[in-house]
């Protein structure tokens, strides 16, 4: 007895899976013989158009996400004369990241860590609630592929027409249609690359430069790279990306649990499959008949070529399109919709055994994810709201550690870096506490007319000053004394402090 037969005999195995496996076995034997192929050409997929709830959601998500992507660089945000007026800008030469009212310096890159944590846990949460929401609706691979499918249907016609023409010899029309498709694809891909580079420079200026051929080489290079990658990934690689290149399906398969809602074929209701006529016969003779009429509509609309009736499948990106397709069929047959739906295997078992269904969206797993998101998000918002707009960092001279002056006084020298994160120029005064009688000297910083020694730091800049602290106290200081440097903004009184040491013999 082969393992397959064993499986078939054990009662609680999905019947559709067995059927699929048998079919595959036959096809395999016919095609390959004994040794099996090392490489296989992927099957061409011609997804059929479909209407319905999930298709509408996908169109809306597509419009919003692509709209944001293509238009965001043009949104303006006034930061005054000294800063760029682009709402979202990654300014590599100046090493700043601007996001509306937020401006980040390179040393605040830890916010990126926070974002990555939020993104990861966000994915986990989506997955625990309703499976691959990300894959089905939000992933760039899905969104652009969806757009490319739409273009393909526009130029080459829907599934049947397209398949038929592909099987026919080349004609002028076929050339024209295919040519139009690739042209439109390349245009979209090109725009995708174009929008990408706009995030790294002032968008209107760069557009002008690009149009007149004056843009930096890197801009053209990146447009080229993204044009190629978009055209390849969304036009040609499509589901292959999800099946072979993306790690997320494997991760999410390991993360899912029995309560997560997934796109599910309700085989409790659908099996045994039979035509409308046969179903009537069976039912009239008192035998069970399923609602699935085996019309394959769910398979034909699937962008990854999955037959969802075979059960949960790594290839299924859970876009919900098969739900829409099946619902349309059920409507025509005047049967209740939802033969394919967001559901769980647990509920299928429950219905079979006449138990009530359970939908448990709130469980320890989802609560934990939500809590982590709340905590990480809270910490980020808190630190962002309370972060200082001035900072000080100090390096003590290493050689010499201290200097003996000719009158016997001791002097230590420090390199002080002052950070001004505000978009205006500010004046600071520096003081040092910890040793009784001290004097601060600044290299290359003459005192003002009023005698005050102020350090001016330009808008959104840092300034390095060399500072010398001399101890005039008659008693020799300890080998090491802790001193506290205080940097005070003379206008606002804001203070930044840092500890260091004063060394002696």
């Amino acid at each position: 007895m082969t393992a397959l037969e064993e499986l078939a005999k054990s009662a609680e195995v999905h019947p559709p899976r067995i059927a699929a496996a048998r079919a595959a076995e036959k096809a395999y034997e016919a095609e390959v013989g004994d040794d099996g192929p090392l490489y296989a050409a992927p099957k061409r997929i011609y997804p059929q158009s479909v209407r319905g709830r999930f298709r509408t959601i996908k169109w809306i998500v597509l419009a919003i996400t692509l709209g944001i992507y293509y238009l965001l660089p043009f949104v303006r945000w006034d930061r005054g004369a000294d800063a760029p007026s682009q709402a979202v800008l990654i300014d590599f030469p100046a090493r700043r990241f601007y996001f509306f009212f937020i401006e980040l310096w390179p040393q605040e890159i830890y916010y990126l860590t926070g974002l990555l944590i939020l993104a990861a846990i966000g994915l986990f949460l989506m997955n625990a609630l309703a499976g691959r929401i990300w894959c089905g609706y939000l992933c760039p691979q899905t969104v652009w592929t969806d757009l490319f499918f739409a273009i393909e249907r526009f130029t080459e016609g829907d599934r049947r027409e397209h398949m038929k023409r592909d099987g026919q010899p080349w004609t002028l029309e076929k050339y024209a249609r295919k040519g139009a498709k690739h042209f439109l694809w390349l245009m979209v891909a090109w725009w995708t690359g174009g929008a990408w580079v706009l995030y790294f420079a002032d968008a209107p200026t760069l557009v002008k430069e690009l149009a007149t051929g004056e843009a930096p080489f890197a801009a053209y290079l990146w447009i080229g790279i993204l044009t190629v990658s978009t055209y390849t990934l969304a036009g040609h690689m499509r589901e292959q990306v999800c099946l072979y290149m993306c790690p997320w399906p494997r991760i999410q398969a390991a993360l899912t649990d029995e309560y997560a809602l997934n796109v599910t074929y309700r085989y409790d209701r659908g099996e045994p499959r039979c035509s409308v006529k046969k179903a009537e016969q069976l039912r009239s003779s008192g035998q069970p008949a399923g609602d699935c009429v085996d019309c394959l509509q769910c398979v034909h609309v699937c962008p990854t070529g999955v037959d969802i009736r075979g059960g949960a499948n790594l290839g299924c990106i859970q876009c919900g399109l098969c739900i829409d397709a099946c619902d349309r069929v059920m409507e025509k047959l005047a049967r209740p919709t939802g033969l394919i739906a967001y559901d769980t295997d647990l509920n299928i078992q429950a219905r079979r055994e006449g138990r009530p269904m359970v939908f448990k969206l709130i469980r320890w797993r989802t609560s934990l994810y939500a809590a982590i998101i709340a905590i990480a998000g809270g910490i980020m918002i808190f630190t962002l709201a309370t972060r200082d707009s001035e900072g000080i960092s100090i390096i003590h001279d290493r050689n010499p550690m201290f200097v003996r002056m000719s009158d016997g006084a001791l002097r230590n020298a420090y390199t002080v870096r002052i950070v001004n994160k505000q978009l205006k120029s500010r004046e600071f005064i520096l003081s040092v506490d910890g040793i009784p009688s001290t004097l601060i000297d600044y290299v290359g910083l003459p005192p003002r007319a009023d005698g005050r020694q102020l350090i001016t730091v330009g808008p959104d800049q840092t300034k390095e000053v060399r500072v010398m602290v001399t101890d005039y106290s008659p008693t020799p200081p300890a080998p090491s004394t802790t001193v506290l440097f205080s940097l005070i903004d003379i206008d606002s009184g804001a203070i930044a402090q840092m500890r260091d040491h004063f060394f002696g013999p």
Partner: protein, 290 residues
Amino acid sequence: MADEHKDIDAVTGTATTGHDWDGIRELNTPLPRWWLWTFYITIVWAIGYWVVYPAWPLLTGSTEGVTAWHARSAVVTDLAELKTQRGPMMDKLSSAALSEIAGSPQLLDFARAQGRVAFADNCAPCHGAGGGGTKGYPNLNDDDWLWGGKLDDIVQTLRFGIRSGHDKARQGNMPPFAGVIKPNEISAVADFARSLSGLPPEKGADLALGKKVFADNCAVCHGPEGKGNRELGSPNLTDKIWLYGSDKATIEQGILNGRGGVMPNWEGRLSEPVIKALAVYVYTFGGGEK
């Protein structure tokens, strides 16, 4: 064996290799063909690389590639570029007076940056990485200058050196007094020199004799009060800074054998703007005189 391959996994519908480990069977999923193509593309890429860059070793060298790229020539180009980029600032440094450099924040920053590198390359071996000095090599951070601590003094010392053999080098030395004055006089004058800067005299020190010996032999260079003479580079003996050390033995040694440290002349070895940058850099160690 052939039959084993026909074994189909029920869950995936994929063939297995026929291997079975305690009921776990290995799927035999064929690789998608495009994957193979990416492999061929990498080969094509490698060939393109040979064409573009130096690649294959030959008996005396290597294939050049159409770009004839070399790490060394790339560095040379980069350095030349840097030179052009710094050119205007370097020119300013050459033409500006030292006081102008010290007075302009922009020039000062540039000079200090240049000076820092030049100091580490040329001066640090004797004076220490931060100019802290060591026995016999002056600390450049303090306010005690043998030959003067104004910008002009420093730049002159840098240019021509001290006892360097250059015509314009700073001259003057501490002669050996061995055989010139008697041992007990040497001891007495060493005690006296220490007392000048307020160091406690040793027990039984003959300060009166020391004072006399000092007036007869040392005051010529070090001045009647021991305040030194910058013309001759003779140190001020009344301050708290001792180039060779303040213990009596060291001082006696100096009197017996003399002293004459050498600082090389940098003119001709370093360019004019670099010498100026060094002077400004040393000046901003903190001891510079107005």
